[in-house]
Symmetry: C2
Subunit: 213 residues, 2 copies
């Protein structure tokens, strides 16, 4: 079989990709949400995110303000942390943390018979109650955030709720959308650390004023 | 809206998830490929991987042997590297490397007008010509691997070809499947760093003899 490669310059690949995504969109998107939805499609090649991504009122404006004020991002996996563009984040004085692999978190989870994701959210709540929380893996983390909000222990600048999977994933996302906080949620089973990171990066690039499409 | 959470113990979530995946499979899977396909579905909640994952002959057996012999894993993103289970890898004396963010790679890419992904594969080829290459992002990395194989500069133990996207992604995967090496490839546009890491982890757990389902 003969495989024909397209001749695209390295610097042009992302631009060409976004043009192709634009062409294949099947619905009209809110202009301020569009760069985020397109970046998630760019990350996943999955156009179902056109329909599944849910945005609370004015969440993009609020998230960009938080980023410009140097907001800290908390992730529930080191994969998501690795995917966040650190250079862009540093431009605004922000940092990204993931506590999942830390010894005190493992210890707390064991003592309380809970997940490390829950224990890592408890630690984040103590240290960064107003952070951007980007949850791409553990529904238990998202459920714990809901409880922490209700207990008035945190007041997140934004919750990115995109865990992936089969047990309490759908439910955890519906739950967080009932809390009165800014959210971006991928309704349904799909999501992932890559999706969480790409939503962070879309917001960072928008805050930078970078042209995406 | 009232959200009803399922009461599942932390240690049971993965098990329950794999049971649900098993129930929703729509085709008969090769028993030796099945743990890999199910773990990718677990990572993505996307059942299309049942149809898109392609395996070269006896690739799982070959990959497990390489892992048991302490194979090095090379990834094309730090996200994929972050997602590989390091504890499991260390059990076999293996390591995972990603050269994408290194200064000499950026320098080589700039000098040669290529992508950092290509330069990072060149570096990997010099240092680990018999590695497992797990490509979850850059089609240019996969195309470069094909060339390096043809130039007899590398002889990979396995190529995991699961870049995601819109420009040369489909083509790069078709290309690598024409090289005479062990491969696991997600045909089409879909894939990702999370998929690359989950295939590595499925192989690691199989090599450990861990019961997955």
């Amino acid at each position: 079989m003969k495989v024909e490669l397209q001749n695209v310059l390295p610097g042009e690949i992302e631009k060409r990709s976004f043009e192709l995504i634009e062409k294949e969109l099947t619905r009209e998107l809110d202009p301020i949400q569009k760069p985020i939805i397109k970046r998630v499609i760019h990350t996943t090649a999955d156009f179902s995110y056109q329909d599944s991504l849910c945005f609370s009122e004015q969440v993009v404006e609020k998230a960009m303000e938080a980023i410009k004020n140097g907001a800290v991002i908390i992730t529930d996996t080191n994969m998501a942390k690795a995917g966040v563009n650190k250079k862009a984040l540093q431009d605004f004085g922000g940092k990204v943390h993931c506590f999942m692999a830390e010894d005190d978190v493992a210890k707390e989870a064991k003592e309380h018979g809970t997940t490390r994701a829950v224990a890592s959210m408890n630690k984040a709540a103590r240290e960064y109650p107003n952070a951007i929380f980007a949850i791409g893996n553990a529904p238990t983390a998202l459920i714990r955030l809901y409880e922490l909000i209700k207990e008035e222990k945190i007041n997140p600048a934004l919750v990115i709720g995109v865990p992936v999977g089969f047990v309490n994933v759908v439910e955890s996302k519906e739950l967080i959308m009932t809390a009165d906080i800014p959210y971006i949620v991928a309704r349904g089973r799909k999501g992932g650390s890559n999706v969480a990171a790409s939503i962070c990066n879309a917001l960072l690039y928008m805050a930078q004023g970078r042209k995406l499409v």
